[in-house]
């Protein structure tokens, strides 16, 4: 194996940062050149420098909106994760409940958010848009946590169950000391998906339900589109992307920290 292939097989942090940064910089340079040379109208595709300028000039408003979207996402993620884990525990304990409620749960996932948003808005009241956005985002976020945690709870080794049975462990001890830790890799994978979905849910819900007292990034994009302010749209999208990457990175870090000592997925083998 050559030095370069070896480096790519186990890329150090500097390489993992440098490669996407260099690729992004080249992409921006080409983009800037194409628009400046007049091949594309700046109204359709603003230059990266125009987007950066808009971002700089309206940093206060845009960062405030980013913060609002972030708060809704975190709240939806927290509600979705807790509800997802609790539901998975209940389903794993009661086959009757699993069979009765699971189809309804799937229904909430196959029905698009845009279709149920007006209904949720009616239920919580049109003056409670923030609550509607939170509920819609949480509905999208909880499913992968439930599905993955259930799979994890069912995957516990029978021998370990036997061990707990012989030692006369209570149901609570079995859950806390065996099942939940064994399901943790699955739950964390579900939560990683839920983080991204909570953000998508928060944005889509704001598009559909409108903005409450605290306008998020979806509102900024919508507002800029109505004014044909494409630099602002790109600036908002850039912040949205940054938020998504940040949330995903943070959840990957949590996953790594929780699993690094024992789970195969987090362990790099010596060669």
């Amino acid at each position: 194996m050559s030095d370069w292939s070896y480096l790519l097989a186990r890329p150090p942090l500097w390489l993992r940062t440098a490669l996407p940064t260099a690729f992004f910089a080249i992409l921006l340079a080409i983009w800037e050149a194409v628009v400046r040379l007049g091949h594309v109208s700046p109204l359709i595709l603003p230059t990266p420098s125009a987007v950066a300028s808009d971002l700089w000039l309206h940093a206060g408003t845009l960062l405030w909106s980013t913060w609002n979207t972030f708060v809704v996402t975190v709240e939806a993620f927290a509600i979705g994760s807790v509800a997802g884990i609790v539901l998975a525990i209940l389903f794993s304990r009661s086959r009757l409940l699993d069979l009765s409620v699971s189809p309804l749960m799937v229904l909430t996932q196959v029905t698009p958010t845009v279709a149920i948003a007006p209904l949720v808005l009616v239920w919580v009241g049109v003056d409670n848009v923030n609550a509607a956005i939170l509920i819609l985002a949480a509905i999208i976020a909880f499913f992968p946590v439930t599905a993955n945690t259930m799979m994890g709870l069912k995957s516990v080794s029978h021998d370990l169950h036997d061990l707990f049975t012989v030692r006369r462990a209570s149901s609570w001890q079995r859950l806390v000391l065996l099942e939940l830790p064994a399901a943790m890799p699955y739950t964390l994978s579900g939560m990683k998906l839920a983080g991204g979905l909570a953000l998508v849910g928060a944005v889509v819900a704001e598009f559909v339900a409108g903005s409450g007292t605290d306008a998020g990034l979806a509102w900024r994009i919508s507002e800029a589109a109505n004014r044909l302010n494409t630099p602002r749209m790109f600036a908002s999208l850039f912040l949205l992307g940054l938020l998504g990457v940040g949330i995903s990175g943070l959840l990957s870090l949590v996953q790594y920290l929780c699993l690094r000592r024992w789970h195969e997925a987090a362990i790099v083998r010596d060669r």
């Binding site: 036997d162 012989v166 000391l177 830790p181 024992w262 362990i267």
Partner: protein, 255 residues
């Protein structure tokens, strides 16, 4: 003399087991006595019902017929420990925490359990690996942790299901020596499942051979408590040959 003499054993009478959906019994007419302090080995070919019988003795399954009783002092609920074929450690816990687990299940705090855990770790030669995680250990080491975990409560009854089957011969010999020494020190009632004639003769006070779900024959093994040089002794070779011949005879009859 052992440090501790335990007072519990197992008595099985007329035990049979047929799994749901099967047309034949996996076990039939099992009468077995495991007196307190005895080391009973269940020996036989694959599929003869050894592991099924062990699961019944561990109360992991219920017999279809007959009954199994734990004997001992009336006021005392016998403490039973299981060493499965695989070490089955909690991969997210350190060696110390894995060994501490049975005491934690009894509600004992980590501080109060520290001495018992370290005693068990020392007895199995793991005192230097207390902070290691299972994935950092070899197969033999993992099995030692599994045994340390079983012994930490100083159990009355120790049930072992082919614990050394997956290990190399050298490690297996070493663990047999260690198990024998631990048994002599604590003297629980042990039921040990194995395919290996050598292991059965070296460890046991009684060998119970199973064939087609029934007890075929039983053989007391009287080599006394000190078996350090047993593998070099002529009487050991003689008993090994006898047990092998008995098993071969059984297989010949069947074929």
């Amino acid at each position: 003399m052992p440090d501790t003499i335990h007072g519990a054993g197992i008595v099985a009478r007329g035990v049979g087991k047929r799994y749901a959906g099967r047309s034949v019994d996996t076990l039939s007419d099992i009468d077995l006595d495991v007196p307190a302090g005895a080391f009973v080995t269940l020996l036989g070919p694959s599929g003869c019902g050894k592991s099924t019988l062990l699961r019944l003795l561990a109360r992991l399954n219920r017999p279809t017929r007959g009954r199994i009783d734990y004997t001992g002092r009336a006021e005392h609920v016998p403490d039973c420990a299981l060493v499965p074929q695989e070490p089955t450690l909690l991969p997210w816990k350190s060696v110390f925490d894995n060994v501490y687990l049975p005491l934690k299940l009894r509600g004992q705090s980590k501080g109060a359990a520290r001495d018992a855990v370290f005693e068990s770790l020392c007895a199995t030669g793991l005192q230097d690996r207390a902070d290691a995680y299972p994935r950092e250990l070899s197969g033999g080491m993992k099995m030692r942790v599994s045994i340390a975990r079983a012994l930490v409560t100083d159990p009355d009854v120790l049930l072992m299901d082919e614990p050394f089957a997956a290990l190399d011969e050298l490690t297996r010999h070493r663990l047999n020596d260690d198990l024998r020494a631990l048994y002599e020190r604590r003297r629980p009632a042990v039921v040990f499942v194995t395919h290996s004639v050598e292991e059965a003769v070296f460890l046991s006070t009684t060998i119970v051979a199973l064939r087609d779900g029934r007890i075929d024959w039983q053989l007391p093994v009287d080599f006394g408590p000190d078996r350090t040089d047993l593998r070099e002794r002529k009487d050991y070779a003689r008993v090994r040959a006898e047990v092998s011949a008995r098993l071969r005879g059984a297989w010949t009859d069947r074929s």
